[in-house]
């Protein structure tokens, strides 16, 4: 792996993480916020893979598999929460808006 490849790959991981972070801050829809969390987790996993490929070690991919398990558990619980919120009759969330949830729940 050349130095340019390393720079491109690490810059890609950083850019993807920043895009996910900006989306998490800017979007107020719960589904979009969970999607942005996925983007950030994926970018971090890609950084692990880049590091593993740089030194030719398998640990980067092993850490990626751990991140995969974390993401799967997070998505399962998060989507169950979103379903429960959208089905809740007392908490009338219009379009799953996180700000509405804060003001409506109080």
């Amino acid at each position: 792996m050349s130095a340019l490849d390393l720079e491109i790959a690490l810059a890609l991981a950083g850019i993807l993480f920043v895009i996910g972070l900006a989306g998490m801050i800017a979007r107020r829809n719960l589904v979009f916020m969970l999607l942005c969390a996925e983007i950030m987790l994926n970018a971090a996993g890609f950084a692990f893979i880049v590091a593993g490929a740089r030194w030719g070690r398998p640990e980067g991919q092993a850490m990626f598999i751990f991140l995969l398990a974390t993401a799967a558990a997070e998505v399962a619980v998060g989507l169950a929460l979103i379903l429960a919120l959208s089905a809740s009759p007392s908490l009338r969330l219009k379009d799953l808006d996180a700000d509405e949830m804060r003001s409506g729940g109080a």
């Binding site: 790959a9 983007i39 996993g45 490929a53 989507l79 379903l83």
Partner: protein
């Protein structure tokens, strides 16, 4: 410089930007699938073939299908997608397909990142040995995490449904 990596990085950045900018959740999911495919191609170009396969199978194949199910179940106006919503993701995915065809047919050394970079690809065998040998305790903890996620998702989703009569089934809950 690895051209496959650069093109896949461009596609990944463009599609991820489109994910955040979409108004409808289904369109964002389409772009996110393309983004994960692009990242898988980038991993392949770096020599991490096993992680690339896992990215496609688990991320794009399982996690995003969960998202699609939930968006369809919530079912507001955001789940309707017309023919126009497919154009952008299709163009980006076609770019990835062209890259894959180029790598397979014209430049076999580009796949796997082994030749031309002076470094051998990490084989799935090495990954498995590291995962279940050196980091076996981490794999156990990941299994615990998945189990707790399963139980938690079951419990939360069950509460949202119609509550079963506790006197009917002997108070099993």
């Amino acid at each position: 410089m690895n051209a496959m990596l650069a093109v896949a990085a461009l596609v990944a950045v463009a599609s991820t930007l489109a994910v955040v900018a979409q108004r409808r959740a289904v369109h964002a999911l389409l772009y996110l699938i393309v983004s994960f495919f692009a990242l898988a191609v980038a991993m392949l170009a770096l020599g991490a073939a096993f992680a690339a396969a896992l990215e496609v199978v688990v991320y794009a194949g399982a996690i995003l299908v969960l998202f699609v199910f939930v968006v369809m179940m919530i079912g507001s106006k955001s789940s309707a997608t017309g023919a126009k919503g497919w154009i952008g993701p299709s163009i980006l995915a076609l770019a990835l397909l062209g890259e894959l065809g180029y790598a397979l047919l014209l430049d076999p050394s580009g796949l796997g990142g082994a030749a031309g970079t002076g470094q051998s690809a990490t084989s799935p065998k090495d990954v498995g040995l590291a995962l279940l040998g050196t980091y076996a305790i981490g794999a156990e903890i990941a299994a615990f995490l998945l189990l707790s996620g399963l139980v938690g998702a079951f419990r939360i989703a069950r509460r949202s449904g119609p509550r079963p009569d506790p006197s009917a089934d002997g108070g099993e809950a």
